[in-house]
Subunit: 342 residues, 2 copies
DNA sequence: AGTTAGCACTCGACGCGAGCGAGTGCTAAC
DNA sequence: GTTAGCACTCGCTCGCGTCGAGTGCTAACT
């Protein structure tokens, strides 16, 4: 059995109807409202096939059908035509810039506006300059069993961390070690220092136990998200989605968002995204259990051409993908321009 | 009719019971569980009196009684004995300090821990240095009906705001006015410029309509909270209070908190608090409609002896005042010490 | 005069069953 | 291959009776 054109049209109709009503869709509804020229009985037969193919599911016997994750994926991949959209200028962003000088407030406001427009939950991270380069790395003897690792970047950000080691190392030994590591890492940007690079430096420096520990700490320092804030808005909208009528579910999701647990996964994948790409991840495609009833639309924003931050929308799987993606794209275009002017 | 000792005991019993069960309290319950040595019938008579006195209310006929705001106020003022409490050292705060260098993260964590301990919603503001002094004040003619007020402090913070006026003022007139106002306000710290000071300057400058407007704007500029962040935690706890079972109420309150509307009132009164004082404001005592079903416990924290930030707890009127106030006091003591060490 | 037992009454909460209606799958005819 | 017809399923709503917690009132008791 294959997905012929009529099945596709019916599926499309089901999705479209379900997106607006949030109610299971029956054969009669489709026959009446989407003139495909076929009777409810025929549609029923096709729907039975679509269910077998895994595109729709029945919440219970004698209910209509609702789209599955697979259907949403198909919808997003093939039925959403966004390529040729034109994006207007958002004048309110300019006004925003005038009313506040701090970029933090600007980002907060952007999250707020996006939430207001889409009625979903939104988030924006503060910018992360991952192209900053290592200028200096220094190891400092603190006390028996403790070392301090300090990294200074060419943007004069200072990051440090204490690590535990088994024995005491003399400062002259540490200085030599610092020098070696500096040679290996100098002028590398933070994003270039990935897991592989760390491993290769380990090899090059001779696989010493302490060097291993230092490099692991270094990796963490560089990639720590401690100084990144995430601004959210519209979390209370979750309470109004019919799929979160169950208070426990809603509360679990809201707590995950409040505690920032949600973002651990999201941000990694977003920063790996190629420029200008909007990523949609639907239901079960999300790692976090609380997000399995949600869809996520994420993208990145730029300052001086550098991809520095993430912005995204969390909504029910039944969300209005078309308009939401449109809004996000339009916002990003205006936002990138705005941030370049800062 | 007066509030004799027996009535007081019954009221106390009602409050105590209601705080734990969140259910209206009946006469039989009190007779059985709090051995006051009187029968339900007698208690009913007394309760009838207590209702007439405004200390308890009946949600509907044939239901038990619940304490009114007035009762909570009495309870908090006279029945809560907190004076002689000893506060232990919170070791986890020290650990917190070690794990993060930034004060922002420290404050976020403090809000989180307090929410976790109390199961209510908490907030902490970032520090505000209000002892900065006025260095210069300038009025600038913008256009017909619009003036710009600029204040510069000795810490080189610049604050400004446009205000609307009825007619146009020549810049030379504005300069003279600026000079006059500067004379009055120069070298005053921001916290010294309170409502009373503003009033007295109004008098001294001759009660002109425009001067009034300028001074009002000035007051707002000085006390505006634009560069202040407010960290909240535990907002989802609201969903579990029985008094917010109504989703619309819960969602309205959570939105108010998310949008920071709640804090406009709260913060003004908190910063006016004398040092070390914990303020409790119950139900209708709160300005904001969404807070009328809540109680608020707020106090301030200090850095180098200066009162710089607010911290507080938002819970249902039925909250556990005793333990919550205790937790807050204990936290503040440790927090002030910790912040001094920074 | 204050206290208490007794009693009728109120009213929300809960559970149950009938009825409704949206929707299905199957069958037989077109 | 399509469709009309039909029996069947099942969640939802609504009304109704019951239950029980709680009250106020009255009359009797101390």
């Amino acid at each position: 059995m294959e997905l012929n054109e009529r099945k596709l049209k019916i599926l499309q109709a089901i999705i479209k109807d379900y997106l607006t009503t949030a109610e299971p869709v029956g054969s009669r509804t489709i026959s009446k409202n989407y003139n495909l020229g076929i009777s409810p009985a025929t549609i029923r037969n096709e729907m039975s096939d679509l269910e077998e193919l895994g595109f729709i599911v029945q919440p219970h016997t004698s209910a209509g059908r609702i789209p599955s994750d697979k259907a949403y994926r198909l919808y997003v991949d093939t039925m959403l035509e966004l390529q040729k959209a034109e994006f207007g200028k958002l004048v309110y962003l300019d006004q925003l810039l005038k009313s506040t000088g701090r970029i933090e407030n600007l980002l907060k406001e952007i999250a707020r506006l996006l939430a207001q427009e889409t009625h979903y939950t939104t988030f924006v991270t503060t910018p992360q300059y991952r192209r900053a380069k290592v200028k200096n790395l220094q190891l400092i003897d603190l006390e028996e069993g403790k070392l301090l690792v300090v990294v200074v970047t060419d943007t004069n950000h200072i990051k440090n961390r204490t690590i535990r080691v088994d024995s005491r190392y003399d400062q002259t030994v540490l200085n030599r070690l610092s020098f070696q590591l500096n040679e290996q890492l100098y002028n590398l940007s933070l994003e270039e220092i990935g897991k592989e690079r760390i491993e290769s430096v380990k090899q090059a420096t001779g696989e010493d136990q302490i060097v291993g520990k230092i490099l692991d700490a270094l990796f963490e320092i560089i990639h720590e998200v401690d100084d990144m804030d995430i601004y959210t808005s519209g979390t209370t909208n979750i309470l109004h989605y019919p799929e979160f009528a169950d208070l426990d579910k809603a509360s679990a999701l809201m707590r995950s968002i409040e505690e920032r647990d949600v973002f651990k996964d999201i941000l990694n994948t977003t920063f790996d995204l190629e420029d200008g790409k909007v990523k949609i991840s639907i239901g079960d495609e999300n790692e976090l259990p609380d997000l399995k009833a949600c869809s996520l639309i994420t993208t990145s924003y730029h300052i001086h051409g550098e991809r520095v931050g993430a912005i995204g929308i969390i909504g029910p799987k039944r969300m209005d993908y078309y308009n939401t993606v449109y809004s996000l794209r339009c916002l990003i275009k205006n936002m990138d321009e705005l941030l370049n002017r800062l």
